[in-house]
């Protein structure tokens, strides 16, 4: 068995780059250093062998050339196509997607709009006091996980960067590093915290505001209990935050999807701002898809906006709540859809899934997903990190080269998108 070290895991925003893969007869047979989810991704089976197309309600196998032609026809026939996904593919493919969208005059959106889109709205309002995960690992003596559950969603986050990691500038990091978890339910992560703050659903904004008031010397204004959290605990937590040497606040979709959405995140950023008057404190969103941060970067370089970019006016236009995928689908506005590297049928509300069903839809994905049965065409591609390489951005904004471990013969996302894009230019005479 051949062993390949230092591979990068293409599952979550941690982008763990210390994975060892065992290869036998051209396929991955074992993983080392992977979490359960990364392991399942590397050992994933049942990839589609060739492109498939739905004709008269039945699937038929087609060639890549036929698939490219069919995709071009669907996209060019549309008045307002939606190009959605992008977070599970590499930056180079995302670049082609933006060019393609400009030609089509459609909307390009990533899974950001249903994960940390609200965080971006808040960051655009008040900035991002962030740092690298390396800084957190080596310096943070206090870690807060707010509205996130890394043990289940980012399984190696705590062992690589926070709770269980050694710190270069910390003595006995494992024992001395304090962990606070804030959540509406007692998750597995909450069970290992030094301090667990259980707030009532929808109470994040009030708790953040109370902590800010205490830090600004206005503790007298705080009632005995705020959103189910006692004043005593709030005072204690504020003191822990104020007196640490380096604090790191990580927050998840528990803030962005709850009542208040981006205003919760704005308040969290402003809490970090307040804490920086006392000590050093930073904030990092726990990004889900391995390259969702990359999609925001690429879209920003190329269009000026990080997600939900609408080209129907010929220039980039951005208005989350209007140009975001959920809203466009719910309003039944788009008349064709290209889904790449994501699975909206599994993760969008039913009304949006019904709209995907009702319009021509192309899926680009190595595996059959829940989006496949509703697609008109699916084009299988290489999996970045296994049989394709590319650039990805870790949750702290650090670009990392995701490697290729074998040659499977599948085209990469960049290759297939480039073929569609070039054919599109040819048909339009551009």
């Amino acid at each position: 068995m051949q062993e390949i070290k230092d591979m990068v895991c293409p599952f979550c925003g941690c982008l763990c780059d210390d994975v060892t893969l065992g290869i036998e007869n051209g396929s991955i047979v074992s993983t080392d250093n992977c979490c359960t989810i990364g392991n399942a991704k590397f050992l994933g089976k049942n990839r589609l062998k060739n492109p498939i197309q739905k004709v008269d309600g039945k699937w038929i196998d087609i060639t890549y050339d036929e698939a490219v032609d069919a995709a071009v026809d669907i996209l060019l026939d549309a008045d307002r196509p939606l190009l959605f996904g992008w977070s599970g593919t590499h930056g180079e493919a995302q670049c082609v997607g933006v060019h393609m969208n400009e030609i089509l005059g459609g909307v390009i959106d990533s899974t950001t709009s249903v994960c940390h889109g609200p965080s971006i709205l808040a960051i655009q309002e008040v900035g991002h006091p962030g740092c690298t995960l390396g800084q957190v690992k080596n310096r943070a003596d206090l870690v807060i996980y707010w509205g996130c559950n890394p043990i289940e969603a980012h399984p190696r986050h705590m062992s690589r960067y926070t709770t269980y990691a050694d710190g270069y500038f910390l003595d006995n990091a494992f024992r001395n590093r304090k962990v606070i978890v804030v959540d509406v339910r007692e998750t597995e992560t909450a069970k290992v915290a030094d301090e667990f703050i259980q707030i009532k659903s929808g109470g994040d904004y009030a708790v953040l505001s109370s902590l800010r008031a205490i830090l600004r010397g206005k503790a007298d204004m705080i009632p005995a209990s705020v959103a189910g959290v006692s004043k005593t605990q709030l005072m204690q937590v504020a003191e822990m935050c104020k007196t640490c040497s380096f604090g790191a606040l990580f927050f998840g979709v528990g803030l962005t999807m709850a009542k208040g959405k981006y205003k919760n995140v704005r308040n969290a950023i402003e809490l970090v701002d307040d804490l920086n008057r006392h000590t050093k404190f930073t904030l990092t969103p726990m990004r889900g898809h391995w390259n969702v941060y990359g999609a925001n970067e690429v879209f920003s370089w190329m269009t000026g906006y990080p997600f939900a970019v609408d080209f129907c006016r010929g220039v980039a236009f951005y208005n989350p709540g209007e140009t975001t995928a959920i809203d466009i689908l719910a309003r039944k506005e788009c008349d064709a859809c290209m889904i790449i590297a994501s699975d909206p049928a599994a993760h969008f509300p039913r009304a949006c899934v019904e709209q995907i069903r009702d319009i021509p839809m192309i899926a680009i994905d190595p595996f059959q997903s829940l989006t496949t049965p509703l697609a008109d065409l699916q084009i299988p591609v290489a999996v970045t990190g296994i049989d394709a390489e590319g650039t990805a951005y870790r949750m702290d904004g650090i670009p990392i080269k995701v490697k290729k471990v074998m040659d499977s013969g599948y085209p990469s996302d960049t290759e297939i998108l480039t073929r569609i894009y070039q054919k599109m230019l040819e048909v339009k005479g551009l």
Partner: protein
């Protein structure tokens, strides 16, 4: 009884991310975690089925007792089951209420559907494989 629906990642759901048409994913995403005292009030035992109803629709799930949840809240892992009852309204933010959605729960003798069955009901066609 009325509840707040909370959805999120579980490690088992994540494990089946590239095999969503399989039995493991279907089992995990059709589980509804609920506080044991709420179960008592509903008159349902762990392992039995419930009907979860929202303004959008309804879905049958199996209950799992979870003391980590506050009373009045249920938790379902990300997937087609919970999304069948979530409203597409985003209040101008692009983000639906995945963490704070009002639902009503009733005991039921109906059976759970698999994601494939839900998709077929929606008009989807499963690819049998090559």
């Amino acid at each position: 009884m009325k509840f707040i629906l909370n959805t999120g990642r579980t490690i088992r759901q994540g494990k089946y991310i590239e095999n969503k048409l399989g039995q493991g994913y279907a089992e995990e995403t059709s589980l509804c975690r609920i506080h044991p005292l709420d179960l008592l009030e509903l008159g349902v035992e762990e392992g039995e089925n419930i009907l979860v109803k929202s303004e959008i629709g309804e879905i049958v799930l199996e209950v799992l007792a979870d003391e980590g949840l506050p009373k009045g809240m249920v938790f379902i892992s990300y997937g087609i089951h919970c999304n069948s009852i979530i409203s597409p309204r985003t209040h101008g933010t692009g983000m639906p209420d995945y963490k704070i959605h009002e639902v009503e729960i009733f005991p039921t003798s109906e059976q759970r559907k698999t994601p494939t069955e839900i998709l077929e009901q929606l008009g989807g066609v499963r690819y049998a494989g090559n």
